[in-house]
């Protein structure tokens, strides 16, 4: 089943978590793992290289969106049928992959996005406000109703991966993917997943308010620039 399923993991300074993430995936028999080291300053690359994974390294730091695109392009070049995007900080659970993949493998959807809000999982209060705020922004911008707009756990068919164009190098790529789904009328489905929060993961990613403001400002400027 896992033959042509590629798991794309963008990683930046994740030496503490990357080993656990990769070994959990390998234990679950996902053997096509692509790790993109976004020019980390720590041992992320060296640690990842101890596992039987495809290793790609950015010569300079380009951001999570750029890393995802690198991984997706690599997977497509290597004949992937399904591509999963998976965080390197240990937030995502391998157990959720089955439900994320199922609608794609059954042909019910071309892209599935994890949602931490369908089945109520424990989300810290301020994180919840931030995430619900971006859900509202997504609705105002693209009229898409979603319960969770910034979840990095996604699966996409080869066709969807070829259609989606990621041009936002940094964090705004999550909104851009939703915009692409809307514009290119790609069949999508939200799937309940559980996100593991700890001190490390809360410091990073889509967590900061400043980050959220930057993403929205970027979206507005992009709309004007086109």
């Amino acid at each position: 089943m896992t033959d042509k399923i590629f798991i794309v993991i963008p990683a930046f300074n994740e030496e503490k978590a990357i080993s656990g993430v990769i070994s959990n995936l390998l234990k679950a028999n996902y053997d096509k793992i692509v790790v993109i080291d976004d020019h980390s300053g720590d041992n992320t690359y060296a640690i990842a290289s101890e596992f039987p994974v495809y290793l790609l390294q950015h010569a300079i730091n380009r951001g999570q969106g750029a890393s995802l695109k690198t991984g997706i392009d690599f997977a497509l070049q290597n004949d992937a049928n399904v591509i999963v995007t998976f965080d390197s900080d240990g937030q995502h659970r391998v157990e959720d992959l089955k439900s994320i993949l199922e609608p794609i493998l059954k042909g019910e959807a071309d892209i599935t996005i994890g949602s931490r809000f369908i089945e109520k999982s424990k989300v810290p209060f301020f994180r919840k406000i931030l995430l619900k705020g971006s859900v509202l922004v997504m609705f105002l911008f693209y009229r898409i109703k979603m319960s969770d707009a910034h979840n990095g756990l996604r699966a996409m068919s080869k066709t969807a991966a070829k259609k989606i164009s990621i041009t936002c190098d940094r964090m705004a790529h999550a909104s851009e993917i939703i915009e692409e789904i809307h514009k290119k009328k790609i069949r999508f489905k939200e799937v309940p997943v559980t996100i593991k929060y700890d001190k490390e993961t809360l410091k990073k990613g889509h967590g900061s308010y400043l980050g959220a403001v930057k993403v929205i400002a970027g979206m507005i400027l992009k709309k004007i620039a086109r």
Partner: protein
Amino acid sequence: MYWIIKLCIVLVALFAISRAFLRFKDKKISRQGLLFWTILWTLAVVFAFAPHGVSYFADLVGIKRGTDFVAYLSIILLFYMIFRIYVKFESLEQNISTLTRELAIRGFKKGNGKNRMAD
């Protein structure tokens, strides 16, 4: 006093136009770019010597003072230029990402697997 300001404007304009011309000769800016900068700086000189001309244009768009008109126009122009730079900057950023991506994909390695079952 006025003549000092006028002289400054003329000198700055001449310098800017000469720089634009040199950039055009080096093929760093297009013919349209040269035309844009030449017109812009020529207008600055014209308005320095004929401020009534500015007042005339200001009147046309309903602004009372010529200097206000010049200030508004400058702000609009600056915003437009910042926007142009933003667009250019974004495109450069994307080019850098494309290049980084190509290098990363070409130089991919397969991990050795010695730690395969590590936890």
